[in-house]
Amino acid sequence: MSHSAQNIAVHSEPETEDHVHHGNYVKIWAILVVLLIISVLGPLTGIRLLVLFAAFGIAVIKAYMVAKNFMHVNVERRWVKYLLITCLAFLAILFAGVAPDIMRHQGLHWNNYAAKQAIQSGSHGDGKHE
C-alpha cells in the first residue's frame, strides 16, 4: 500500500473481477444429502454416542462444507474467516458465562427449585405444561 497519488481505488465494475473457481457443486450437494440421510438414520440405532455424533457432528460437517464450498469462505479474503470465527468465539464466551447459572439447577448456596419441579412434573406428562 503505497502513498502514491496514482492509486485511485475505485471500482467501476466490481462484477468484472474476483471470480472464484467454481467446482463441482452437484458433487458437494450429493455428499450433503448422504450426510443428511446418515443424520436421520443414526438416531434410529439408539446408541447415545452415535446419536449425538449423527446429530451434531454431522451438522458441523455439513455447515463447514456449505461455508467452504458454497459460500467460498476458503477463497474469500482471510479476515472474513477471522470475522466469523470471532463471532463464534464471542458466542462461546456468552455461553460460558451464562451456562453456570442457567444450565445447572443447583450451585453454591443456591437452588433452582422451580426448574427441578418443572422437570419432575414434566417427566411424566407429554411435555405439555397445562
Binding site: 453454591l108 448456596h109 443456591w110 437452588n111 433452582n112 427449585y113 422451580a114 426448574a115
Partner: protein
C-alpha cells in the same frame, strides 16, 4: 471510612469497609496523579509567544516510558485490589460459617416476611414464628438466611450489615450474617420491583439473647402470636397499595 456515612453492624462490615478504604486510597492516588499531570501540562504548555509546539510522535523510547511505566503500575495496583476484593467476597458470599440459627426470608410485592423457628429451634414446625416487615435476631449469632421471592425480583439489603442479595423467584439463595450491634436497622429492597418499590421497607431488630428470648416468648404465645404476625405500618400501607392495583 464508610463508617462515617453508615454504621457497620455485622462481622464482615469492617472487612468490606477496609476494602473500600484500600480502593479509595489506590484509585485516589491515581486520580490525583492524572489530574495533577493534566492541569500541570495545561498550565505549562498554554499558548505563549515565542514557544512553538514540539513535534513528538509518542513513539520515542525516552518518552513512551511516561505511559508504559504507569501502565505497569496500574496493573500492579489492580492486583492489589483484586486479591482482597476476592478474599472479602469469598468470606461474605462463598463460605457459610456453621449456622447457629436459620431464618427464611420471603419477598413479595411489596413486603418482607420472615419465618423463623419457634422455641423448639426447628424450622417448619407448628410453632414457627412468622412476621411481616420485622425480623428479630440475636446479636453475635451466625444466622443463615434462605431467601425466596414469591413474584418478581427483589433484593434483600441491610446497609448496616453491608449485606445485599437479590431474591430470584424460583430459587432459594442462602447467605449469612452475624450482627455485632443491637438496635433497630433498616431493611431495603434494592431491586426495582414495581410500583411499591419505594415502600418496601422492613426493620431488622438485633437483640441481646435475653431480649430475644422475651420477644420469642411473646411472639409464640397463642394469644399474642396473631398480633405479632400483624402487619406493621409499612406492611399495612403496602396492603393498601395492593388494593389499588388496577
Amino acid at each position: 471510612m464508610l463508617e462515617r456515612f453508615a454504621t457497620g453492624a455485622s462481622t464482615y462490615a469492617a472487612s468490606i469497609d477496609h476494602l473500600i478504604f484500600l480502593i479509595a486510597v489506590l484509585v485516589g492516588f491515581w486520580f490525583l496523579v492524572a489530574e495533577v499531570a493534566l492541569f500541570w501540562l495545561m498550565a505549562k504548555f498554554r499558548r505563549r509567544d515565542g514557544h512553538a509546539p514540539q513535534y513528538v510522535t509518542g513513539e520515542e523510547k525516552h518518552l513512551t516510558k511516561w505511559v508504559t511505566i504507569p501502565h505497569f503500575l496500574v496493573i500492579a495496583c489492580d492486583l492489589v485490589i483484586i486479591v482482597p476484593a476476592i478474599l472479602v467476597w469469598v468470606n461474605v458470599k462463598q463460605t457459610l460459617p456453621p449456622a447457629q440459627e436459620t431464618v427464611r426470608i420471603f419477598s413479595q410485592q411489596w413486603a418482607w416476611s420472615f419465618q423463623q423457628p419457634g422455641p423448639d429451634g426447628i424450622l417448619d414446625t407448628a410453632d414457627d414464628i412468622r412476621t411481616v416487615g420485622e425480623l428479630h435476631v440475636k446479636a453475635n449469632t451466625v444466622y443463615h438466611f434462605e431467601l425466596q421471592s414469591r413474584d418478581v425480583l427483589h433484593s434483600f439489603s441491610v446497609p448496616v450489615f453491608r449485606l445485599k442479595q437479590d431474591a430470584v423467584p424460583g430459587r432459594t439463595i442462602t447467605g449469612w450474617f452475624n450482627a455485632t450491634r443491637t438496635g433497630t436497622f433498616d431493611i431495603q429492597c434494592t431491586q426495582m420491583c414495581g410500583m411499591g418499590h419505594g415502600l418496601m421497607a422492613g426493620r431488622i431488630i438485633v437483640e441481646t439473647p435475653q431480649q430475644h428470648a422475651a420477644w420469642m416468648k411473646r411472639a409464640s404465645s397463642p394469644a399474642l402470636a396473631a398480633s405479632a404476625a400483624l402487619p406493621s405500618d409499612t406492611a399495612a400501607e403496602n396492603t393498601k397499595i395492593a388494593e389499588v392495583r388496577r
